[in-house]
Symmetry: C2
Subunit: 307 residues, 2 copies
């Protein structure tokens, strides 16, 4: 039996993954916010390094109350909008629906589970460079891998089917341990997102300066040690920091999502990317002084922008 | 017997203190850099909240080789120029000359002593808001107190005479323990200088935001604990952080010296204000993670500016 997909937040990430699934014959229902009228009239355009395409008949919605129940819901919102989920998610849910949070940060699944105690939830970690700069047009620049990490879902048949759906749609997908996947992504996210904002720069310049390269490594080590102390099924090696730095050096000059939010005067995801990891560490009597300092600097910057 | 004073670096600080001493009848010899010709022709103007005045006959010099030996030399350079002292200081020195380093940072006196092993050295901590925005004109905005902290000078009679000279010239001056004085000033300098640069702001805005106020307090506590662990004659109380924050809240919006250096595209005193305290802490197996992080951020910013 084929799966019915719902996309909450059809932007750079949700738009790309949903459109790929849709193009390969899967039933996908898309929730749009600002772009709804445009996509209804013009369809959805994917400009992709892996081959561009156009979807003319998009199952587009403006309200989830108009959407059918789905087997898999990909939540691709900015995490600062997760407060909306309590209201907009229920129409899409049947007893076995799996909700995958394709968002950055720590603690997202726990917070959603608190609001929906019986909901099946997974994390989605997107390794992709993708953007939406115009209505109804997704620009996919590079990569695309999706890691699915089950948080409260033991249904391995369902997870396998989702992974297969993605793979046949041309998206590399794998399953991973939840805590390892979330913290591994935080190892990269925590230094690069915040420092590109505070120092108003890009990943390549941070790594071509010895001082900031060493700061980034210190921050990565701080995240790795925190994750290991909180307890992972398999501890992260500290050499993972060197690997992440080496990988980033091979990337073109890059502005992480928080830097784009900053540049485009959108609110920044300070809570789930910075405050929450610090809070989780504190629950285990661990301190993350560098992450905490960056959190304070970002909070200051964010407060001036929202005035 | 009256003391002969020399001023190395006649700017916002050296110009003000030297002019006050000169006005009250002391013999003061001033070394000028860019302003030499202007002051030779026009004299030195002090615009001060405590009463403005003009010195028409200034003992102005362009090279220390033309200056007489002095009993007291006030070094009021930016610490990044202290490398020049090895060459420019000797003409001013007789066997009992006291050199007072009125500069910001940690480790300045130790470095000078290494170059001049028998020299008598003291630290000078200036609590003053003063600037030089035009040639030959010093603008004294508020405060003015000078703390003299002997580093390698046991001559209490000389120190008393200097303090008396300042006090009669209308400048509140006192003596203090060396290490306590330097670290107490660092408690304020370390958070405010660097954070106003990295966040491109002023002291008042940093303290009107809860996140940065708490960061500033954490940084102050880090400096206080480091100083106490390195060993002070009398340990600093952690409540000194609250006092410094409360005092700063009473000040008008203020740009510390490093922020002015940043705004006017001058090199910043990163080494003695940030790198050196971290190095001194490391010598005692102490870590200053917040100070170190700010040092790395400032080093990055400084490197982009000097290109």
């Amino acid at each position: 039996m084929s799966l019915k997909y719902g996309i909450i937040g059809t932007g750079a990430i949700g738009g790309y993954y949903g459109a790929k699934l849709s193009k390969f014959g899967h039933e996908v229902h898309f929730l749009f916010h600002k772009d709804y009228e445009f996509v209804k009239a013009n369809g959805l355009q994917i400009d992709s390094v892996d081959g561009s395409f156009h979807l003319s008949n998009v199952a587009a919605y403006h309200h989830t109350t108009d959407m059918p129940q789905c087997d898999v819901v990909l939540v691709c919102l900015k995490s600062i909008n997760n407060g909306l989920l309590k209201e907009i998610l229920p129409p899409l849910l049947h007893p076995n629906t799996l909700v995958i949070l394709i968002e950055n940060g720590i603690g997202l699944e726990a917070d959603l589970q608190e609001q929906f105690p019986t909901l099946r939830i997974a994390a989605g970690l997107a390794f992709i460079c993708s953007g939406k700069f115009n209505p109804g047009v997704i620009t996919h620049q590079s990569l695309g891998r999706l890691v699915i990490a089950p948080y409260s879902c033991q249904d391995s048949a369902l997870l396998k089917q989702i992974v297969d759906d993605f793979n046949t749609a041309g998206i590399e997908a794998t399953c991973s341990d939840y805590a390892i996947a979330r913290w591994k992504k935080a190892v990269w996210n925590i230094p690069f997102n915040g420092l590109t904002v505070v120092l108003n720069t890009t990943t390549d310049l941070l790594l071509s300066n010895k001082a900031t390269e060493s700061l980034i490594k210190s921050m990565m080590i701080e995240v790795i040690r925190t994750a290991n102390s909180i307890g992972l099924e398999q501890p992260l090696r500290e050499s993972f920091a060197d690997t992440m730095i080496a990988v980033t050096k091979t990337m073109p000059p890059y502005s992480p999502s928080m830097k784009l939010d900053f540049d485009y005067h959108r609110p920044m995801e300070v809570y789930y990317l910075y405050s929450r990891p610090v809070i989780e560490a504190e629950k285990h009597n661990l301190d993350m002084p560098l992450t905490r300092m960056l959190e304070k600097q970002l909070t200051f910057i964010d407060s001036l922008r929202s005035e």
